[in-house]
Symmetry: C2
Subunit: 517 residues, 2 copies
């Protein structure tokens, strides 16, 4: 088979169980800032505005975000794990993580930081850096994408340790991956000379010759042949103070439009960082932040600063940059098709068909991409996978609700799935994990009929408590304070038929909640 | 746009209301035999084994079958409408028609005849002919496909009348349509000289030069240029006795493998026709019928007999031969795409996207066909539309239930739709028409929880009757004799949650039924 420039199927090995953290030495002053504000529009219909790519678990048992957090936690002191996201996603991510990640493995839940407004990575990273400097002038920060796949284990830890060592001297250490194919979907870093002294088991920190944009295929092949070119992983290790000083210094040099506002960005970031993170989304903070240019940190600092280095490593990695990554989920058949889920094909070749549950039948397709979810289907040629954002824009313009939320919502107590919605009623499957319960709540404008179909429910209703087994039902009137709990040993499954003129999720008053919602 | 050989988008005009039958003179001795045994595999996923193409109403308000019946009824004496189908489809068609067609317009429901076994059209038409001769030695028969689109009205009636007149003399009168495009998907009839005497408003019956198979595009264009070639509509008018005598005569001539068994077919047909139609599916009838060769009536008789004529007409017609017919349901956009239902497209051209309810997004497709239903999606290039049967075969081999039945089942009282099924429970939406009721029934192995979400239900349970309004619920235990009726003025909608180890439809005992099921 000839080389496919749209290939994006790396499947890094990851250890299946969390590390035994007791055996590790944590890195003093190191803080992780995990960037989780991405909207993941290139992954629609799997991703939605409220469940972007970092929250998807199609690439393994847990979400990309949970895996990113689990990967770095063993190297951090407690309290040094931060998730930087948008105000809108923050509650979603908090709920998501309480379901997807183990607080024990994360040494407690991470700190969630909401950027005042989406202004791309330069203002966001500057704000995080200023915030860390406020807490600890010696803070080291590792900036990590939340939606990539990355090999875990000893090589990863050695990479972080060596990068931290290099960063202590004031340089901004990028992590570059030895390329294994002439990828056209990644930016590259051309490594310069190896820097003296900094070495671990064959790894050495290098100067950076230059950053290069996503190349065309010929150029990418030339890079591979020439050597010294690395994939830009988007990971960065630096002293937090150095991030701000290099931002300023790049601004003063004023070489490019993207970099010349560095001083202003650092200044505003430092001002906002004196506030508590809860206030970052206040009007005053937002107004100041919105005055900043929306520029990438790479453009504003890394491509300008002379204190940037790169640590070349050979970790397995993928940026999971498009739906074509789904092609890595299963072996291809003899015609090069990858079928995931209940898909049946006749005569297609080199196509990817992903179904999350419904039957998808394909006939005679070539290089096609079909992604099917409970409520929406996408069909495109593979070569247009990068343009899925155009579909999302068209759907937004059309007001399609399928852009915003998926059919199954993950909650700390389990999940609920919208099975059918029509004017006047809404049917849901509610799944509650053993020992968990929903909040004590009431609805103004809808009644709820519950039929237990599996497990045992404890239902509280206006102070009264009843136990319901499978094949028993109950009824919640508007205004009734009620609570559903799983009092059994297996997952509780309840079919809810909500009836009313108004059926949206915002018709809820919470009186008590195990997750303080 | 250049000519598209796969075009199949004719949309015949049909009158929207049934004829005022009083003004018509019915044709004495005429019986209609509507062939409704087709499995419609080329229309999957819209059609299923139990709801083949003739039962689909995507091409108008009622099904193709109902329209075929309504079209011929005004020309028939009461009792002369017969539907010939398979044993398996017979109960489905009966239920379907009681929901889709008006018995008043059909002068009572048609007589349903089940062929003893599927042996293609020659044995089936022979059996129907023999059955009609048994009833009326002077019977005229019109054989009609049940899954075509055809223009209704005065021209249609004149066609049938003239064909009947011609058939009285003993000839087998085919109906040929003046071609409007060089179709490669139809067989053609080359008309010979006009026969004297038989004429109505410019229409004349012709001798037949020859029947020709589906041509390639060049040949089809030559036919159009030459003139005298007609599309073979599959409709036939003949004296029932002539059908049998011509079948025998073709058999005696023994010119082809397909025709040489004519005598045997006529003989067995006559033997079985002496039985009541209920007995046609008995073991003895089936064994005799299965000894017959599975041959087409066209091959066995029409292409051999010298008593075959053709009536050229200019009716609008389509055989709705493939999913490409969906392209006639809406005007194409400026890039030649036809989008039906909640479909959103970016950058595709010349594609057909049909969704029956879910969101389908397409990006950058060319000449593609996407058909989405509640439980299954098909994606193929338009040029492979004729090969959908290969998908159906693959699905059958895989045991996919999506081949057999659709998610919504039509019943004489309304519909039920499977919303969600999992081990231990099954959720349905039950819609009951005003004034209708389900049978008095019980289930051995499942409980049913009913929540009324719209309308008013009268529920009978072990002799007790309660009325339930929207937002009220009830519960049916295993073994309880129960009946659900719509006692209101609007459609009753009930959500049923059935709970049990065994949830199939065959767990039902009926005690009383308005449709004698």
């Amino acid at each position: 088979m000839e080389h496919d420039s749209t290939r994006d199927t790396a499947r890094p090995k990851e250890t299946s169980s969390p590390h035994s953290t007791d055996q590790l030495s944590r890195i003093p002053h190191l803080h992780a800032v995990v960037l989780a504000g991405g909207s993941g529009v290139r992954f629609w219909p799997l991703s939605r505005e409220l469940t972007p790519k970092q929250m998807l678990n199609v690439f393994g048992g847990t979400s990309l975000l949970a895996r990113a957090l689990h990967r770095i936690t063993p190297l951090l002191e407690p309290g040094n794990l931060h998730v930087l996201t948008s105000e809108r996603l923050l509650p979603e991510l908090r709920t998501h993580l309480s379901a997807e990640a183990s607080p024990r493995d994360l040494l407690g839940m991470p700190e969630f930081l909401a950027e005042p407004s989406p202004r791309n990575t330069a203002p966001a990273i500057a704000l995080a850096a200023a915030y860390l400097v406020e807490q600890d002038p010696e803070a080291l920060m590792i900036v990590l994408p939340s939606d990539h796949l990355l090999e875990d284990g000893a090589a990863w830890e050695a990479t972080v340790r060596l990068a931290c060592e290099a960063a202590e001297s004031g340089s901004l250490v990028t992590i570059g991956l030895e390329p294994t194919a002439p990828e056209t979907g990644y930016g590259y870093i051309k490594a310069g000379r190896a820097l003296p002294g900094l070495e671990d088991g064959g790894m050495r920190v290098h100067a950076v010759d230059r950053f290069v944009e996503k190349p065309d295929e010929t150029t990418a092949e030339a890079y591979l042949a020439e050597g010294g070119y690395l994939w830009n992983s988007g990971m960065l290790v630096a002293r937090a103070a150095s991030v701000l000083s290099q931002l300023r210094s790049a601004g003063r040099r004023g070489m490019t439009e993207d970099s010349r506002h560095g001083e202003m960005i650092a200044q505003i970031a430092e001002e906002i960082a004196t506030m508590s993170p809860d206030e970052w989304v206040s009007t005053s903070a937002r107004e100041r932040f919105e005055a900043l240019p929306a520029v990438q940190f790479d453009k504003a600092v890394l491509e300008i600063s002379e204190r940037v280095t790169v640590l070349p490593v050979s970790l397995e990695w993928s940026d999971v940059g498009s739906l074509l990554s789904l092609g890595g989920l299963a072996p291809a058949d003899e015609r090069g098709n990858v079928l995931v889920g209940p898909a049946v094909d006749v005569d297609s070749h080199d196509s990817i068909v992903y179904s999350s549950g419904r039957l998808v039948a394909t006939l005679g397709l070539a290089d096609a991409l079909v992604v099917d979810t409970a409520d929406a289907t996408l069909v495109a040629p593979k070569e247009r996978a990068q343009d899925v954002r155009l579909v999302v824009e068209a759907l937004k313009a059309a007001g399609a609700p399928e852009v915003v939320a998926p059919r199954t919502a993950i909650r700390p107590w389990g999940t609920w799935t919208s099975l059918f919605k029509a004017p006047g009623y809404h049917i849901k499957l509610i799944e509650v994990l053993p020992g968990k319960r929903l909040s004590l709540q009431s609805h103004e404008r809808r009644s709820e009929h519950w039929v237990v179909v599996e497990g045992t429910a404890r239902v509280e209703r206006d102070g009264e408590v009843v136990e319901l087994a499978a094949n028993e039902s109950t009824y919640i009137t508007p205004g009734a304070r009620h609570r559903l709990a799983n009092s059994g040993e297996v997952t509780l499954r309840v079919i809810e038929v909500a009836v009313g003129e108004y059926l949206e999720e915002d018709d809820i008053v919470r009186y008590e909640d195990d997750w303080d919602r």
